[in-house]
């Protein structure tokens, strides 16, 4: 698979046409779809029209943009004008957005071409990409296993070589965990780096759009193109992603870099194969000049509980909008009763996991529970964020396994929501703190399946974080 940087270089120079690039990618998408179900929609026509336009721009000598001709896949909870966007939910099965998400508009303005919309856990709620109205996504290396989630379709599309670059969203690990399971790179930038205008909201104080790719430098280029304040998202800020830092090119590129291994995330609960892969990576990083020390995030044991109270509370509020009155699949009821139509439409259109989270969020926000659950979780969130900041104070990045295990067989955790939630412990600390985090492939662990290493950095320090991750990925 050619990298996005390389494809853009070839298309920009006229050495390869965008139509050729896209035609080949569409062929790969069709073949992959039959095995992985990575896509909800493949947008062949839109992609070919866009490719012809890029080729015209190149022929006329105008500037086609830094991602000229690069096919990208977009998670189906990110709005695309005129292209169906379902969020994996039956209630949005016919929803065609009248606007583009800012990240999509910026990618297209940079010359990227939307190849299709990728499958996901409904509204981003899941860690396996099995809970979609379009059916489960299957792992490209073993169709009997999950890709992880919720951005599993994007991870499968990149891992299967369909596209070099895909967008996901990450509320508690939904970009990084499937990236780790599928053996690709996944980056969740700092809260605020990318506009979320057009992202279908799940938990607004945690949601962030992220990038999946084969190559760390492709992720950097995509983030650079998409970042910057957006007047349509008050939580976006004016920050840029630094270009690749010229780390010493000698045999010690990490000289002077300090990395903190989070003690609490290397012990009990982490599969032996994942732990060995991380230990081996640690030795390689030391060999490349890094100083690796142990650090502590004592409140990590509280992170999953904190995360699920806050995420479900925000979900119950955000998903109140799906009442099937102005848009969405409406169930008609006898007597033409609006309230009953809403209740039936929500029950029929929202999946079981989504309903479970709405009910849990409703509970923690309801009178009598608010202070004991929701307010308390916001207080513990500050303790977790303070612990992460303290751990980062003496190092350039934290290092943890991206997930405690490798991919599991389809269906294995569907009846045990708590077991599914507990796997988020390694990733959700970055969402609670708002910090950037990137997962890179860390080798092969249990069952000959890939695992990932996660680097967590200080807010808006993506430039340095990606440089460290790039060295680790090549090591």
């Amino acid at each position: 698979m050619t990298s996005a940087v390389q494809i853009a270089k070839e298309v920009r120079s006229g050495g390869r046409s965008a139509v050729d690039v896209v035609t080949e990618a569409l062929d790969r998408a069709a073949a992959s779809q039959a095995r992985t179900n990575a896509f909800v929609t493949i947008s062949s026509e839109r992609a070919l029209v866009a490719a012809r336009r890029i080729d015209d721009v190149v022929r006329s000598g105008r500037e086609p943009g830094p991602l000229a001709g690069v096919p990208v896949a977009i998670k189906d909870n990110i709005c695309t004008r005129g292209l169906r966007t379902t969020a994996g939910s039956a209630i949005l099965r016919d929803f065609v957005p009248p606007y583009d998400a800012t990240v999509v508009a910026r990618l297209e303005a940079a010359g990227a071409i939307v190849l299709g919309k990728t499958n996901l856990d409904e509204f981003g709620m899941g860690s396996s990409s099995e809970r979609s109205a379009s059916g489960p996504v299957r792992h490209p290396l073993d169709p009997g296993r999950v890709t992880g989630g919720s951005s599993g379709g994007s991870a499968a599309a990149v891992a299967d070589g369909v596209v070099p670059l895909a967008l996901g969203s990450d509320t508690g690990g939904s970009v990084r965990q499937p990236a780790a399971f599928c053996g690709v790179v996944g980056c969740k930038p700092t809260y605020g780096l990318l506009s979320r205008y057009g992202l279908i909201a799940y938990a607004s104080s945690l949601d962030q759009i992220g990038v999946l790719s084969r190559d760390v430098e492709d992720a950097r280029l995509a983030l650079a193109v998409m970042s910057g304040r957006d007047p349509l998202d008050a939580t976006s800020v004016d920050a840029a992603v630094a270009p690749e830092r010229a780390l010493a090119t000698s045999d010690a590129p990490l000289a002077g870099v300090r990395i903190g291994v989070v003690r609490e995330l290397m012990g009990e609960g982490v599969a032996p194969g994942v732990r060995s892969a991380l230990t081996a990576l640690r030795a390689r990083l030391e060999g490349l000049g890094a100083a690796v020390v142990e650090v502590s995030v004592p409140s990590v044991r509280l992170a999953v509980a904190t995360y699920y109270v806050i995420a479900t509370a925000e979900a119950s509020s955000n998903l109140a909008r799906y009442d099937a009155m102005l848009y969405g699949a409406r169930v008609a009821v006898a007597g033409d009763d609006q309230e009953r139509s809403m209740r039936r439409s929500r029950a029929a259109g929202l999946g079981r996991e989504v309903q479970r989270r709405i009910l849990m969020g409703t509970f923690v926000l309801s009178a009598g529970s608010f202070d004991a659950y929701y307010r308390r979780a916001l207080q513990v969130r500050r303790l977790v964020a303070d612990d992460v900041a303290a751990a980062l104070a003496g190092v350039d990045a934290l290092l943890t396994p991206t997930a405690p295990t490798v991919s599991w067989p389809l269906g294995a955790r569907l009846d045990d929501p708590l077991a599914m939630y507990l796997g988020d412990v390694t990733t959700c600390i970055a969402n609670l703190a708002g910090a950037p985090a990137v997962s890179v492939p860390a080798g092969i662990a249990e069952d000959d399946l890939p695992c990932g290493a996660q680097f967590v950095g200080a807010p808006f320090d993506e430039g340095r974080l990606l440089s460290i991750a790039a060295v680790a990925a090549r090591s």
Partner: protein, 98 residues
């Protein structure tokens, strides 16, 4: 304390969800288990800790006062489950007998 049937009814009512009878036992069991797990937050000393609503400080920033073209009413109408003469049709919200 486990959720009662009445608790589940109350939550479903607040969330505007009509729960199918066959899902109720499973949902109650799942919610009990999840609430039992998150109860570990009750052991934490949070005295004096300021709640963290979001991971960044936000100040109000107004958009520039520029004219933009909004999404057209026709585009919005196209999304609606039912329309008539440029209006969205919804089920009855008030009693017609008054």
């Amino acid at each position: 304390m486990p959720l009662t049937d009445a608790d589940l009814d109350h939550l479903a009512d607040l969330a505007r969800l009509e729960l199918p009878a066959e899902d109720r036992a499973g949902l109650r069991r799942d919610l009990d288990r999840l609430l039992g797990y998150v109860a570990l937050l009750q052991e934490v000393d949070v005295d004096g800790v300021v709640p963290m609503q979001r991971p960044m400080h936000l100040a109000d920033v107004l958009r520039d006062d520029e004219a933009v073209r909004p999404v057209g009413s026709g585009d919005l109408e196209a999304l609606a489950p039912a329309t008539s003469e440029g209006r969205v049709v919804v089920p009855r919200t008030v009693d017609g007998s008054g």
